[in-house]
């Protein structure tokens, strides 16, 4: 069945799914906000954001706020579309498995 194919491997992890969820409803989110919301360690979050960046689902923007370096993330158009498809696939699976 083709819909099964829409279950996106890139989102097959709690943290990656969480990052995308936050970025779907916020223009951007910085590293510490994501860390707090998802309750993960620095290294864990960094590796998952890297994976999503590699898939071109999010952009990493590095900038300075005063003297402090600040990393923030933005969902790309491709990422938004992929996430939407993933959600639709999840919905479909749930509807048809009960």
């Amino acid at each position: 069945m083709s819909l099964i194919n829409n279950i996106n491997k890139a989102f097959d992890h709690r943290v990656r799914l969480g990052i995308m969820s936050v970025l779907m409803v916020n223009e951007h989110a910085d590293f510490n906000t994501l860390k707090e919301l998802l309750n993960v360690t620095d290294g864990n979050l960094a590796s998952h954001t890297k994976a999503l960046e590699k898939a071109e689902y999010i952009l990493i923007e590095k900038q300075f706020i005063g003297k402090k370096p600040n990393t923030r993330y933005v969902a790309t158009k491709l990422g938004r579309m992929a996430f939407q498809k993933h959600i639709e696939a999840l919905e479909h699976l749930i509807k048809h498995s009960t």
């Binding site: 799914l17 969820s21 409803v25 989110a29 919301l37 959600i87 999840l90 699976l93 749930i94």
Partner: protein
């Protein structure tokens, strides 16, 4: 992964979307108290106007200044109560009080509110005070509607009600006082109680 895991995924997505974009720690109790302050304040204004001003309000009169002070006190105590109780509730939920979602809520609430407040002060300065009550209700309603996108609890509907009351008040300025009491007093108490029992109580249990 079976369907149970997918359901968990969906609810986690929903939860994160809400937590990251909406400020959910608004206290229902502060709504009830704001309503009570409004009713007490209105009663004070009623007594002032009827006993010391023969039922009419002169813009440059002493009574008018007392009524303005009365209004300022209602606003001050309502806001102070909301801040204190909401901070408490946020702490209990382990949420931050001053994060992006609460900032967005406050900014979107204040833009129509301050615009309306200044506008009312300007027209009062021009001796046009017949519509002040209606404008307070309308602008407050618009502030609630504007803020509602960043909170839960269907604050939007309270906003709609305030706007409708404000428009009625504009048509019948003679009932302004009672519509004001209904909008700022009674509606806050009803809405606050509903919020309190729907959200606050649930989190305690």
């Amino acid at each position: 992964m079976n369907s149970k895991d997918y359901l968990k995924d969906i609810s986690e997505i929903k939860d994160l979307m809400n937590k990251s974009s909406r400020f959910i720690s608004l206290s229902g109790l502060s709504g009830i108290l704001a309503g009570i302050y409004a009713i007490i304040g209105a009663a004070v204004a009623y007594v002032l106007v009827n006993n010391y001003s023969q039922g009419t309000l002169f813009l440059d009169g002493l009574v008018f200044r007392w009524v303005l002070l009365d209004l300022a006190l209602i606003a001050f105590f309502s806001i102070a109560t909301a801040i204190v109780l909401t901070t408490q509730k946020a702490k209990k939920n382990g949420a931050k009080i001053w994060d992006i979602s609460s900032k967005r809520l406050v900014v979107n609430f204040l833009i129509p509110l301050i615009t309306g407040g200044l506008y009312i002060l300007i027209i009062l300065g021009q001796q046009k005070y017949g519509q002040a009550g209606a404008l307070m209700l309308i602008f407050y309603g618009l502030s609630l509607v504007s803020a509602s996108k960043y909170s839960i609890g269907h604050i939007r509907f309270l906003g709609y009600i305030e706007i409708i009351l404000g428009l009625i008040c504009a048509v019948f300025p003679g009932y302004g006082f009672w519509l004001w009491v209904l909008g700022f007093g009674v509606m806050h108490i009803i809405y606050g109680s509903w919020m309190h029992f729907k959200y606050d109580k649930k989190q305690i249990n």
